[in-house]
Symmetry: C2
Subunit: 142 residues, 2 copies
């Protein structure tokens, strides 16, 4: 498994925020209930999206979270990069991987590189708005 609950939950939260947008802020408690995800766990995942500028959070009564753009301006890849610790399909391509001595002669490295590129392109081509289309209730207006 390459994509953990962190990335999957983050996507579901963004879709939920989009679908239930009413001009104000949506508390994570509501999202957690609707999505049947532990609030405590979401509270650990969601700050990454705030730091990345994908959503904005407001403390206190009447607070919660809100998208910063319209759903078609988010792509899945950006969400995964912010929430997942690692997306590389093999250890050799990980960010902090120590350079491999066999790199020059490795017959499999190009395969992994090509796959990684395909994967990146695929997820970049999908927007939150695309994901929402799988549902009949698409009531997001910005």
């Amino acid at each position: 498994m390459i994509i953990s609950t962190r990335g999957r939950y983050a996507l579901r939260v963004l879709i939920d925020l989009a679908e239930h947008y009413n001009g104000g802020f949506t508390p994570m408690k509501e999202v957690a209930e609707r999505q049947d995800i532990s609030l405590k766990y979401l509270e650990r995942i969601i700050p990454a999206l705030t730091k990345g500028g994908l959503i904005e959070g407001v403390h206190g009564k009447g607070g919660g979270y809100r998208l910063t753009r319209s759903p078609d301006e988010y792509n899945v890849w950006d969400v995964l990069v912010l929430t997942e610790t690692e997306l590389a399909p093999v250890a050799c391509l990980e960010d902090h991987a120590k350079p491999c001595v066999r790199q020059a002669e490795c017959r499999t490295l190009p395969l992994w590189q090509e796959f990684y590129e395909n994967m990146k392109d695929f997820f970049k081509s999908k927007s939150i708005a695309d994901l929402m289309q799988y549902s009949p209730s698409d009531n997001y207006v910005i």
Copy 2:
């Protein structure tokens, strides 16, 4: 990371067997030395390929392993399926996953399914012979 050393090593072993084929059997000890992989660890991975019919092993002196077909008749996907415990990109799509209650309403499931299909198609389209072409020394003859 989705593809572990098991799948990666298995591919390298197959390529090595193809490149060093001389009509007989190649002992895993030689492959392990050339590929700089622990022989003991390889001995735990390689039986899966034998069971899957990708290679055949012969005990005793003069023994070792040999491919059962020509390199262009192997695709990467089949190798990975035999050696990796799980290839699904998300837990929901794993073989022994318990059916998800939210399946019907899940807006992200189709995304993961499409990605999984793409991934499968990609790896099925690549053969061991394709991987060998990255090297100048291609001396396999059947």
